[in-house]
């Protein structure tokens, strides 16, 4: 019989209870967002400048995180990389999850031909290999940040759609949905007010996972030369381009990996530890 639950580590503030883990995760995410915004003003060197005589240089004064495979300053490259990783991935995951979830709920509530058409179309999208899709888009419109965001969003929308639709279909069969329909409510109310509150937790968990996938796919695209163009580099690209430093234990390969890990883990921890509104149960 399991008894002790992790409820003891929660504190309360302004009518919400939150856990320490969630706060730390939120602070890490906030810090990276600040870095992303302020990066151009705080980097010590321009990201394209070769400032070290040696490559894969160690951490030392002036080059706090060592140098990369061309002798460029790693600190500047990681700070600027935050811009692209946080900015592009977050924007893409927001678009993907928002459109996927809204479409999924609408399809579940409306049913009929709209559901069929949307589901088949997005299944077809799902069947296109993501890297190949990226290649085609870059070949067609060239590589730019907006194009990259949209491409990533389009690639991950079908998954979010499938997930949200599967959840919403279950909710849709409940009697309170029938009650709302007979009341004469429109679709926007049905999906926003009746369904969404019931599926928000799994949807957020899905959001966290999808964010990690997008970060990884972005790195993959950059590696193929389809993502950001040099000398710009996101964290994934930094890991890839410095992979040769692994035998030398160069900070150039470890630091961006840690950066990716800190961000993706924080996003997931935050989602698992969102503040909860305290409702007085004993009243």
């Amino acid at each position: 019989m399991t008894m002790a639950r992790a409820t003891t580590s929660r504190r309360s503030f302004l009518g919400y209870s939150y856990s320490l883990v969630g706060v730390v995760a939120a602070l890490v995410i906030l810090a990276w967002m600040l870095v992303a915004i302020l990066a151009p003003y705080i980097i010590p060197h321009s990201i394209g400048d070769i400032v070290d005589d040696d490559y894969f240089g160690p951490m030392r004064q002036g080059l706090w995180l060592g140098s990369d495979y061309l002798g460029r300053d790693m600190l500047s490259r990681v700070l600027m990389g935050a811009r692209y990783t946080v900015g592009i991935s977050l924007a893409a995951v927001f678009i993907a999850c928002f459109s996927g979830v809204v479409l999924g709920m609408t399809a579940a509530v409306t049913g009929g031909w709209l559901d069929t058409c949307l589901s088949r179309f997005l299944d077809a999208m799902n069947s296109i290999p993501s890297k190949l899709f990226g290649l085609v888009v870059v070949a067609a419109v060239g590589s730019s940040i907006p194009a990259l965001i949209l491409t990533l969003a389009v690639i991950y929308t079908p998954g979010a759609y499938r997930f949200a639709r599967a959840l919403a279909v279950n909710i849709n069969t409940m009697d309170f949905m029938t009650v709302a329909r007979v009341r004469g409510e429109n679709t926007a109310y049905l999906i926003g007010s009746e369904i969404l509150p019931n599926i928000i937790r799994p949807v957020l968990a899905d959001f966290g996972l999808r964010f990690v996938f997008i970060v990884l796919l972005l790195s993959g695209l950059s590696f193929l030369g389809l993502g950001l163009q040099p000398p710009l580099a996101d964290w994934g690209a930094l890991v890839r381009e410095n992979i040769g430093g692994l035998p030398f234990a160069a900070p150039a390969v470890i630091i961006p990996s840690l950066a990716i890990a800190s961000l993706t883990i924080s996003v997931n921890l935050l989602i698992d530890n969102l503040p909860q509104k305290i409702r007085d149960r004993d009243a």
């Binding site: 019989m1 009650v179 007979v182 409702r279 149960r281 009243a283």
Partner: protein, 551 residues
């Protein structure tokens, strides 16, 4: 006579989400003599199932047996190890669950599941077990005892499944059988067969039993002793005859009183002021592909006509599957009729709710059976009740808040409940919120679809009483759908009996004693009475049973 079971000062605790520890069973003591059946009755949440399960040494997740002794056949179940308990379960003590339909594995045959106990405990060779199972099927008067074991659970009816669950419990020759509300989910006509089968098998085998129920009339038929529980404590205990005739405790009396239908306010016959509020002519609706003549393949409602007058109530009664719920959905426009007219308040209504005007939707509200699924679990009570206020009446925030208070008062709920979510309410409270939401719209007609069948007797009686009061205050009309005759009788001016999608008879409550249609006769005679000799003395016309009973 020795006692097979002796429970002394049993205490069970549960831990809530917030980490608080709540004592849910507070020192219960009871005895079960050899070969007798003891009934545990009480409202939901009184701890009756928890006590029954503790006889197997089992506590549900989150609960713990913290004190007392549970002596079953000389062994203290509370002190045994899990392994020792497992050896006794199925052989010494067996369990018949509330919903047999949910307890059978749909992917293997009934016979395999019935003899599983003998396999687990190595009681007898499979061949012998199959013979024994067939004997039990015969004893439980199941149809086709030789062949029924080869079927899968979805191929037999609910009443049969419940008896098969009893066969499963009895195959290990237990000394004690725990019945957990085994007939609550069944129709009255089916319930009788199941009760009769249980009673004869238990008596023939001299098996002791504990029977958990909230239906006093059912308990009166099967139990030798009755123990009344409330709030985890024994309120009163005694033999069935004494409890029914000379109950001491106020709660027991309340239970008995809830059983007797209150005198209804009777409208003077031929009330001149009554004009039809809702009229339905020859409505047919169903499921499946629409055929050439415009009718659906399976007709759930077949050419039904009815009239509801302003300020009057119509009861619709029939067993499950007779089309009464479909009829409610047809009237509300959730399931559009294939043919027929619906006239509401002098105006022709569209068949589909989507095409009706907002006012028409507002004036006809439907309240569903399961408040659990009819209330959005993610929203507080306040939001649930205030939505119709904002939607139909465009009230602002303050006016809504005030009206929510009034509505909560109306349905006799404390105002502080408004901040809670449905999962934090009891069954009766949920049904009241469900009803308050319908009232918030300001309707003329409320369709109540089995709204009391998920509630226990005392709570259901209170809800019915509430409906009557509100009717007097707000001049409402109800269509009251139920399979429980006593409920319909208590509140309705007219009763329509449905069978197989058709209206078979329409009568007034005072003529209930003399129904003319044979199905009505069978249905009305199947309602259990408090008299303990009722079941044994019941003689039903075998022709009627074979024609209308689903065995």
């Amino acid at each position: 006579m020795t006692n097979l079971v002796e429970v002394r000062d049993l205490r069970i605790e549960a831990t809530t989400d917030a980490g608080r520890i709540v004592e849910i069973i507070k020192g219960v003591s009871l005895d079960i003599p050899d070969g007798e059946i003891v009934a545990l009755i009480g409202e939901s949440g009184s701890g009756k199932t928890t006590v029954a399960l503790s006889l197997m040494g089992y506590a549900r997740p989150g609960c713990r047996i913290t004190g007392g002794e549970i002596n079953v056949n000389g062994k203290n179940m509370a002190a045994l190890s899990e392994k020792q308990r497992a050896r006794l379960r199925g052989t010494d003590i067996a369990y018949v669950p509330q919903s047999a339909a949910a307890s059978f594995n749909p992917s293997s045959t009934i016979m395999e599941q019935v003899i599983e106990v003998t396999r687990i405990h190595n009681l007898m060779p499979p061949e012998r077990a199959r013979q024994r199972a067939v004997e039990l099927f015969k004893a439980l008067s199941l149809p086709d005892p030789e062949g029924i074991g080869a079927r899968y659970p979805h191929q037999v009816s609910g009443g049969q499944l419940q008896r098969l669950a009893a066969a499963m419990a009895l195959i290990g020759d237990p000394k004690l059988v725990i019945f957990d509300e085994p007939t609550t989910a069944l129709d009255v006509t089916t319930q009788i067969d199941v009760l009769k089968a249980f009673k004869s098998v238990m008596r023939a085998g001299g098996i002791a039993g504990i029977y958990v129920s909230h239906d006093l009339a059912v308990v009166a038929q099967i139990a030798d002793h009755i123990v009344v529980l409330k709030g985890g404590e024994v309120q009163e205990a005694g033999t069935t005859a004494r409890m029914l005739s000379a109950a001491q405790h106020p709660y027991t009396r309340e239970l008995l009183a809830a059983f007797e239908p209150k005198p209804r306010q009777t409208h003077a016959d031929g009330d001149a002021g009554a004009k039809p509020l809702l009229r339905i002519d020859n409505v047919t609706a169903g499921y499946g592909a629409v055929r050439e003549n415009g009718l659906p393949l399976i007709r759930a409602v077949d050419s039904v006509s009815l009239v509801v007058e302003t300020g009057r109530n119509l009861g619709i009664i029939g067993e499950s599957g007779c089309g009464k719920s479909t009829l409610a959905r047809v009237i509300a426009g959730i399931h559009p009729a294939a043919t027929g007219n619906i006239v509401f308040d002098g105006k022709q209504l569209e068949r589909a709710a989507g095409k009706r005007s907002q006012d028409q939707l507002r004036e006809m509200q439907i309240v569903f059976q399961y408040a659990d699924t009819a209330l959005n679990p993610a929203k507080p009570v306040e939001d649930i009740i205030s939505r119709p206020l904002a939607f139909y009446h465009q009230l602002d925030r303050q006016a809504r808040s005030k009206r929510v208070d009034e509505l909560l008062d109306m349905v006799r709920l404390p105002r502080t409940l408004r901040y809670r979510r449905p999962s934090e309410l009891s069954g009766g409270q949920k049904q009241r919120v469900n009803f308050a939401r319908a009232l918030a719209a300001g309707p003329k007609l409320i369709i109540c679809d089995e709204i009391t069948s998920a509630l226990d007797t005392v709570v259901a009686a209170a809800v019915i009483e509430l409906l009557k009061e509100l009717q007097r205050e707000l001049s409402l009309s109800y269509i009251f759908i139920s399979h429980d005759l006593s409920v319909v009788e208590a509140i309705c001016d007219e009763i329509m009996v449905m069978y197989n999608g058709e209206r078979v008879e329409q009568i007034t409550p005072d003529k209930l004693k003399a129904p003319t249609h044979p199905y009505s006769k069978l249905l009305f005679s199947s309602v259990p009475k408090l008299d303990p000799t009722w079941l044994d003395g019941l003689v039903r016309d075998p022709e009627l049973v074979s024609q209308y009973g689903h065995r």
